[in-house]
Structures are given as structure tokens and as C-alpha cells.
């Protein structure tokens, strides 16, 4: 059953508290399924996540590493959500550096607009550009001024504020300023408490942005649109429309690329689903709880089994079971010869998946449906349960049950220094990856990468074909990687590169003393 979402609170609880999410773990996928105790956690509404009947096992055990490398934070995730809307403006209440990833989101936004058939243009994100004096004297006036400026310049339908580490530390009252500006400007002004230090994983940033939309933008008095389905997405190509047309549904993508009205009407939809539960579960569960918009009780639409189950669950929701069965049967027939041909070409190939949590579960199904061996994967965090909490959404369990175990299943927040050890213990002819920082080192180790920028690429029946064809092209690039491997090296010490266990520092911190002896 679904968990309790508290929209009356100004901000959402961090994932590690709400869901028991972890960022550092190593074992097999089946072990992680067991340790996650999804069903048990799903029953808990309050208090310690996942606490058993007697309160035992509050937390999923994590490996505590003394060494870290940098990756994303909740602040940049919130920016990539609230800053990528067509007619709203995000103001980052921060020094200028907290906006430095925006050029990449701009690329994603421009590409996303093009994918959805809209003329590309740049994102408009403002920063209050805080300086030393602001840290001493406070910066509330600058934020108000920025809000007025945003209103004059862009005539937005809503304004978002985002918190940074520095503005949180100096105690800027984002919520009060937002309320004041909302009154003054007459449009919704939504604060996001997304300072980078608050959560150990960036994905809390998705929940924070969604929380802001749910509280400030979603239509509180919905008029039902029975043919509308919300798909929580990023910037992906519109593959969902053709899959859902046979069920008589129109797709409402949220949040990147969306307009204010598209966000507002989410409460009017017939149901909600997502390309990835990690991303979509909070939004979907909140809509279900507050507005009775049901979420789809199914794994994600990847591979034959996942796509079948997903379509059936939606069909059941909208009363189109017959149409769904006909569509599923004809689609299987249509794609099967192509997939058989790809399976023949991909025989003996091994892949390695590194992406955000439940998306990886979907990608592994696609690769295995294509006959590709997947013996290892890195997920950038693990949610032992999703906000939805429905058994049918337990994507890791479904993966293990449908496709068998993954012997080396690792939870690690984009730590490139672990990659050499991770890739040594499995065969990997290619990696499939989202997020930056890891693929370049795989490349230097001779392994080509499929950087999956369009997150909808593997969705549905055609997704398997798209992925299979892309993998063939990626495998050819190995030539370039072999050149690299012959001539360049990694920036790690020989001692570290000789380690077999990527988590040795957590398990045996004393090895650092050995290293000292070796180097001295």
C-alpha cells in the first residue's frame, strides 16, 4: 500500500529518512532484494523506515567509505527540474557556482524541446549571485528583487526559488519570502529547500521539486480528464504516445519541458506512471493520495515482461483490457523477428549497467531480453521501497524473479575510483550509463560506453530494438577505446589499482597504513 505523503509540510523528508535509501553497498541483487524488505517497509507510515515489528533493522547496512569523489547534489537536480519548464522561471538563491551545471541542462532542454516538436531555445534560470557581504548581512532583499525582475523580464506563470548550501547555513527564510512575493506578484512562488548538504543522495532533489509543484502549481480543484495519463519523465522522446494511443490515452509529460498548465492538470488525469519509479514515485503517490489519481501498479515498461505488465495494468485502470491484449499480441508478433535477429548478432556479448536506481532494473531486463549477459551493475543509490509501496512496483524483485540474479550488484554514487575493481570482476564488452564521471574511465580501460541521454530510448517493445541496434554501434567503438587503453593511464596509484575489492576501504580501513608502507 502507498505511503503517507505530507503535502502540508514545507518540504519533503530526505530519501534516506523516508525510504531508507542507501548509497554504498555491494553484493548480489537477490541479497539486496531480501535485505530491502520492501513489503515490510511499505507498511510503515511513520517513524523509522523499515523497522520490523520489533523495531529491528531500521537501516539497510551501508558501507562507510572514507574516500569520496564528487557528483551531483540535490540543488542541481532541483534546478534540472524546476529550471526546465517552458513558462516558469527558477531563481537560484546562491552564489554563482550553484548554477554552473545549467549549461548542460540547457543542452538537455534544447534537445528535449526538439524531441517534443517545439522550437529549441535557452533555459532562463536566474541566480541572485550572492557575494561575501550577503553572507554577512543576509540576502533576502536580493531575492525579492530577483523575483520582481524575473516577473518583469519573463512574465512567468510561476517562479521557483531554490536554496543552496550557503543560503541554508546563513538561514535565509525562503518560504516567507516566497509567500510575500506570491502576494505581491499574484503568481505562485514555490520555494525548494534543496541545499546540497541536506541529503546524501541527489535524488531527494527530484522529490523536493515535485513537492514544490504539488503544493504550489497542481490544480486543487481538478476537473477530470479521463483520457489523460501523467508520465513522470525527464527530457525524453515522446515514445509513450504511440504505446498508449491504442488504450485511448493522451500523454501529459512532467516535469522537464512541461508548461505550467501541463503541471497543473496532473490532478485531473486518469492515472500516473513514470519511466522510472526512482523519479516518479513521489509525485504519483501524492497525486493518488490527494486527488485520487491512481498510480499504475506495475513494474516499469522495459523488456517484454515489463512492458506487457505495464500495459495491462494501465488498461485495467482505464477499462481497455481487450484493446491492450490485442495490442500486446500484435506488438509481440511485430517485434519478435527483429529481436531474434538482434539476439543472434549479440550472442556472447556482455554488458554492464550504471544508472540511477530503478532505471537500471529496467535496462537490465532489456539487455537480457536481447540475450546480452549482465553479471554486474552499479546503481547510484538504492531505494529499498518506493513511495508507492505497491508490491507490483518492486522492480528489483521483479528483475531477479523474471530474469535471474545479478551476482555483482553494487550501490555506489558515481565513484570512478571504484571502477577498475568493479570492471575487473565481470566481463563487460560495453557499459550503458547515465550521469557523468564514470564512462571516461571505462573508456580508458578499453570499454566503450553507451551514454543514454534520451531516457525513453529503451522504453517498450521498440525500445528493445533501439537498444540492440545502439549496442551494436557502441561495440564498434571499442577500436577507439583500445587505442586509449594502449596509450593512456588512470589517475590512480598502482597500489589502488592492485586492489580487488572496490569497498576495501570501508571493510578494512587499515589497508591505508599498508599503502603507506608500500609507498614509503
Amino acid at each position: 500500500m502507498a505511503r503517507n505523503i505530507q503535502l502540508d509540510l514545507e518540504t519533503v523528508e530526505n530519501r534516506e529518512m523516508r525510504l531508507g535509501s542507501i548509497i554504498s553497498w555491494d553484493g548480489s541483487a537477490s541479497e539486496l532484494v531480501e535485505l530491502s524488505r520492501y513489503e515490510e517497509r511499505a507498511l510503515r507510515h511513520k517513524g523509522c523506515p523499515g523497522a520490523g515489528k520489533n523495531g529491528e533493522g531500521c537501516r539497510l547496512c551501508e558501507l562507510n567509505m572514507p574516500f569520496n569523489q564528487q557528483s551531483m547534489c540535490a540543488n542541481s537536480i532541483a534546478a534540472c527540474q524546476a529550471g526546465n519548464l517552458r513558462d516558469c522561471v527558477l531563481i537560484q538563491h546562491s552564489p554563482v557556482g550553484c548554477t554552473a551545471r545549467n549549461p548542460e541542462f540547457n543542452l538537455a532542454f534544447r534537445n528535449g524541446l526538439e524531441r517534443r516538436g517545439i522550437k529549441p531555445r535557452n533555459i532562463n534560470i536566474m541566480t541572485t549571485n550572492l557575494l561575501e557581504n550577503d553572507m554577512v548581512f543576509g540576502a533576502s532583499e536580493k531575492l525579492k528583487k530577483a523575483a520582481r525582475e524575473a516577473y518583469e523580464r519573463y512574465n512567468p506563470k510561476a517562479i521557483f526559488f531554490s536554496m543552496s548550501c550557503s543560503t541554508a547555513i546563513i538561514g535565509e527564510d525562503l518560504s516567507s519570502i516566497a509567500a510575500e512575493m506570491e502576494d505581491e506578484l499574484g503568481i505562485p512562488v514555490a520555494p525548494m529547500h534543496c541545499e546540497g548538504f541536506r541529503s546524501k543522495h541527489w535524488s531527494t532533489g527530484f522529490d523536493i521539486a515535485q513537492h514544490a509543484v504539488l503544493r504550489h502549481i497542481v490544480n486543487k480543484h481538478p476537473k477530470k480528464q479521463p483520457d489523460l495519463i501523467n508520465i513522470v519523465a525527464l527530457w525524453g522522446t515522446d515514445y509513450f504516445t504511440e504505446m498508449l494511443k491504442p488504450l485511448g490515452l493522451r500523454v501529459n509529460y512532467i516535469m522537464d519541458i512541461a508548461s505550467f498548465d501541463e503541471l497543473a492538470q496532473t490532478s485531473e488525469a486518469a492515472c500516473t506512471s513514470a519511466f522510472c519509479h526512482t523519479l516518479g514515485s513521489y509525485f504519483a503517490t501524492a497525486l493518488e493520495q490527494e486527488y485520487g489519481v491512481p498510480q499504475i501498479r506495475a513494474p516499469q515498461p522495459y523488456g517484454f515482461a515489463g512492458t506487457d505488465a505495464w500495459l495491462r495494468a494501465i488498461a485495467k485502470q482505464v477499462g481497455k483490457e481487450t484493446e491492450a491484449e490485442a495490442f500486446i499480441a500484435s506488438e509481440h508478433e511485430r517485434v519478435k523477428p527483429k529481436i531474434d535477429a538482434l539476439r543472434a548478432k549479440l550472442k556472447g556479448v556482455s554488458g554492464f549497467v550504471l544508472t540511477g536506481s530503478s532505471y537500471a532494473h529496467g535496462l537490465i531486463s532489456v539487455l537480457r531480453d536481447l540475450g546480452i549477459t549482465v553479471d554486474g551493475s552499479v546503481v547510484f543509490h538504492h531505494d529499498p521501497v518506493y513511495d508507492g509501496g505497491y508490491e507490483e512496483q518492486n522492480t528489483l524483485k521483479t528483475l531477479v524473479e523474471e530474469y535471474g540474479d545479478i551476482p555483482h550488484f553494487t550501490v555506489s554514487k558515481t565513484q570512478p575510483f571504484q571502477l577498475p575493481a568493479l570492471l575487473k570482476r565481470v566481463k563487460a564488452d560495453f557499459i550503458i550509463i547515465r550521469h557523468n564521471g564514470l564512462a571516461p574511465n571505462a573508456a580508458r580501460m578499453g570499454i566503450p560506453s553507451f551514454a543514454i541521454g534520451d531516457e525513453h530510448f529503451p522504453v517498450g517493445y521498440d525500445g528493445m530494438i533501439r537498444v540492440g541496434e545502439a549496442v551494436i554501434e557502441v561495440l564498434a567503438r571499442k577500436k577507439m577505446n583500445q587505442v586509449l587503453q594502449r596509450h593512456v593511464s588512470l589517475p590512480y596509484s598502482d597500489w589502488w589499482l592492485s586492489q580487488k575489492d572496490p569497498f576495501i576501504l570501508a571493510k578494512h580501513p587499515e589497508v591505508l597504513d599498508e599503502a603507506e608502507e608500500v609507498q614509503d
Binding site: Q69, L130, M135, F197, N436
Partner: protein, 444 residues
């Protein structure tokens, strides 16, 4: 009454001071260690490198940069302990001859005593330096100077031995921030060596790494080739080692400027000019071999190309490219916008460089950091009836579309360019610059 200073920024053309991690990363064998929140340096990577000509990284750059990823615990209870663990493991895990800890906003605001953590390792003999560079104190250019000065003070040490008459310390653009820095350093080193010097370049493919930094005091003088960046470094070195400096504010582009540049440096150094003159003669001959060919296209192309241009970017590329186009090619300079937050004390001197871009041609320069105002300004310029040329960044794509301009990306942010070994400075760079502009003109 003076209008209150405009403060917000849309579409920034620079990173924050943590972006100076890439100043460290550009030194072969050096490793930045980031002491602040979990996303800080990752964000800067996109402005400094990935979305700036897709430069990528080598050594300890990109995802490989160690960091504390400071969380709530470090904010509430202090971050010294976590930093200590990260430094201790970084010294073992990373290959490195020099480690530079960069402290950002949060340790500064909560008052961590970072120096004492770093000092402990330095006293044990590790080559480690600390630079305090919170993002609210300045942008990546300010951070660049802070990092360079920290390395000088905490790693290079005192002067030993005699100065070498022909050895020069070259201080020019900020690595990674200046989109073509790798090619620029290669060309500048090449021409200075051609003229008879030995050159410490400190960054990039031509640097010997940290040993070059140790040799800083041995150089005869510091050569600052930028409108304002690194002047603080040269002044610091003058105070520290009594080492003189020569400031040439404009990066030379094209044969005439480059030849004049070399003659000025040779004269300042007081070395024999015979080698330099032989080199200049050879370089000039090659340059005009190509420039002469280019004349056919420039004189005879029927289908038109831009005659009037505006430029947006950091002060260094802004003045260098403006001067070349106005003085050597005869393009009409409509407006020049410097977007790098040039420190106030240097603004008059920088502005003076635009007084005469060429004989009878003056500039129209303004300092603007906010992309919204930059775009507005560009849309208001009068470019006549031809196709305007905008030399700028990806942020100017929309306004370029709007006014029907040809956009050539010459600085941060550049997501329509893949830049490897390219430069627009010196003898070689000027020709590449012409190739770039006119290829864009004939294909656009």
C-alpha cells in the same frame, strides 16, 4: 545619484571560484581535493570543461576529483574530521605530485579550521597546499589567482640559486575557462622558444608539471599576457622574490601583433635578438603564404559574409580577437561586451585598450555580466543591413537567431564546438581563427 548596481545573473559566462579546481587539474601531476558540498566541483566541470568546447579532462579532473561531499553532519559538527579522512586516502589512492585542497562555501561559513588539517600533512612531508576559495568570494578567475598564489606560498618555497636570463614564467589565460587554452599555451610556448627563451608554462601538455613550479624563482622575469588576470600573481612574485614582470595586456593574434609582441619581450629581457629575428622572418613568410591565398576568397567571394561584428566574452579573448578583426581584417566592431567580472580596479585600464582598436577605429566596450542584459544589448546594436557576426557563447544562440546573426563560439559556454588542439592566438592561431569564422560564414 548612481543607479544601484545590478546583481542578478541569467546565463553566467563564468564558474565560481571552486572552478579553479581546473587550474590545479591543468598542472600535470597535480590533484585538486574539494572541501565542500557534494555537488560543487561537479557543477563547475560543466561550465569550465564539458560545456566549454567539450574539453574533457585528464589526470585528476572530471569525476575523478576527490571531495568531502560535506553533508548535514559536517555542517552541524564541523568538517575537519571528514576532510582528514579524504586527504589521507587521496594521498594513497590518487597518483599525484601535488595536492591542492580547495575549501568552498560551507567550511568557510561554519568556520572549519582547514589549515591545521592540511598543515599536519605538509609537516609530514606531503606536497599539499590549501586554498580558501568560497564561491561567494569570487568567480573562477579570482579562484585561479588564489590557487596559484597558494601554491607559490605553500609549495614553491624560497628562492634558491641564481636566476636564468632566458627563463621566463608565462602567465596568461585561465586553464579550461579559456576554451582554447591548450592550444594557446602550445603556441605561446612555441613562439617564445623560437625567439630564444625557455618557458615555464605551468599548465597543459607543454608543462613539465610540478618541477616547473619549483623553478618559478629561477626565471628572469614574469611575463603576464592578459588584460588583468594574473597581474596579482606577478605583483606577488615581485614582492616575494624581487622578480620583475612585463605586462602585455593583449594576447597577440596575427603576424604583425605577434612579431611586435616577441620584439617587446626580447627587448625587455635584454637578450640577443638574432635568434628571434630569424624566427620571426620564417614565421612571417609562412603566415603570409596562407594569408595571401586567403586573399582570393576575401576579395572574390560573391555570396557575402559578415562585415560587422560584436563580441561577448572574457577580457582576454575579447580585446585580442576584437583588435585582430578590426585592425588586420577590417571588420567593423559594433560592440564589445566583457562578461568576466573584471575587478573594478582594472576596469579603466582595460577600457583604455579599446580606445583605438586600429587607426581611426575605436571600440564600444561595456562590462556586463548578466546574460539577459547582454542579449538585450546585442539585439539593440545597429549592424547595418548585412549579416551580423557575433563572437560569443552558446548563451547568445537565441539572440543570434532573433537578429539573424552568425554565431561563432569563442568562449565559455561553448556547446556547439568540440575543441581539442586549437588556438586563435599567435601566428598559427590567427589563421585557424580565419578558417573558423569564414567556414561558418560560407556554410551558414
Amino acid at each position: 545619484m548612481e543607479k544601484k548596481k545590478h546583481t542578478t545573473i541569467t546565463h553566467p559566462h563564468y564558474a565560481c571560484s571552486i572552478g579553479a579546481a581546473y587550474t590545479v587539474s591543468a598542472i600535470p601531476g597535480a590533484v585538486p581535493v574539494i572541501n565542500c558540498g557534494p555537488g560543487c566541483v561537479d557543477q563547475q566541470y560543466f561550465t569550465m570543461s564539458f560545456c566549454n568546447g567539450f574539453q574533457g579532462s585528464i589526470g585528476a579532473g572530471g569525476g575523478d576529483i576527490p571531495g568531502t561531499n560535506s553533508g548535514e553532519n559536517e555542517i552541524v559538527f564541523g568538517g575537519a574530521k571528514k576532510l582528514d579522512g579524504v586527504i589521507r586516502s587521496a594521498l594513497k589512492i590518487m597518483k599525484g605530485d601535488l595536492f591542492v585542497v580547495l575549501s568552498g562555501c560551507s567550511p568557510q561559513l561554519v568556520g572549519d579550521d582547514v589549515d591545521s588539517v592540511v598543515k599536519k600533512y605538509r609537516e609530514q612531508g606531503y606536497p599539499i597546499v590549501h586554498a580558501e576559495v568560497p564561491g561567494f568570494k569570487g568567480n573562477n578567475l579570482w579562484g585561479h589567482e588564489e590557487v596559484v598564489i597558494s601554491i607559490i606560498d605553500q609549495f614553491v618555497g624560497e628562492q634558491k640559486g641564481r636566476r636564468r636570463k632566458k627563463l621566463v614564467n608565462l602567465w596568461m589565460g585561465a586553464p579550461y575557462f579559456n576554451t582554447f587554452w591548450r592550444g594557446d599555451y602550445i603556441e605561446m610556448k612555441r613562439i617564445l622558444e623560437g625567439a630564444g627563451f625557455e618557458v615555464n608554462v605551468f599548465f597543459g601538455s607543454e608543462s613539465a608539471g610540478v618541477s616547473e613550479w619549483k623553478n618559478i624563482p629561477k626565471a628572469a622575469f614574469n611575463l603576464v599576457v592578459s588584460p588583468w588576470l594574473n597581474l596579482r600573481v606577478a605583483e606577488h612574485l615581485e614582492r616575494k622574490y624581487g622578480q620583475p614582470y612585463l605586462h602585455i595586456p593583449i594576447l597577440p593574434v596575427g603576424e604583425e601583433a605577434t612579431t611586435a609582441f616577441l620584439r617587446q619581450v626580447v627587448e625587455f629581457a635584454g637578450i640577443d635578438n638574432a635568434k628571434a629575428e630569424r624566427f620571426i622572418e620564417k614565421e612571417a613568410a609562412r603566415y603570409y603564404y596562407f594569408f595571401d591565398h586567403f586573399a582570393d576568397f576575401f576579395a572574390e567571394y560573391w555570396f557575402g559574409f559578415p562585415s560587422q561584428f560584436a563580441i561577448v566574452g572574457d577580457a582576454a579573448y575579447n580585446i585580442a580577437l576584437s583588435k585582430f578583426l578590426a585592425d588586420q581584417i577590417g571588420l567593423i566592431p559594433v560592440g564589445q561586451i566583457i562578461s568576466d567580472n573584471t575587478p573594478v580596479k582594472h576596469r579603466d585600464a582595460v577600457a583604455a585598450l579599446y580606445a583605438e582598436l586600429s587607426e581611426g577605429v575605436s571600440g564600444n566596450m561595456e562590462f556586463i555580466e548578466d546574460g539577459y542584459l547582454i542579449e538585450k544589448k546585442l539585439s539593440e546594436y545597429d549592424f547595418g543591413s548585412g549579416t551580423p557576426l557575433i563572437l560569443g557563447s552558446s548563451w547568445e544562440q537565441d539572440v543570434a537567431d532573433e537578429i539573424g546573426a552568425l554565431l561563432v563560439e569563442v568562449g565559455t559556454i561553448a556547446t556547439e564546438e568540440v575543441v581539442l588542439n586549437r588556438t586563435y592566438v599567435g601566428y598559427t592561431g590567427a589563421l585557424q581563427f580565419l578558417e573558423k569564422i569564414y567556414s561558418a560564414a560560407v556554410s551558414g
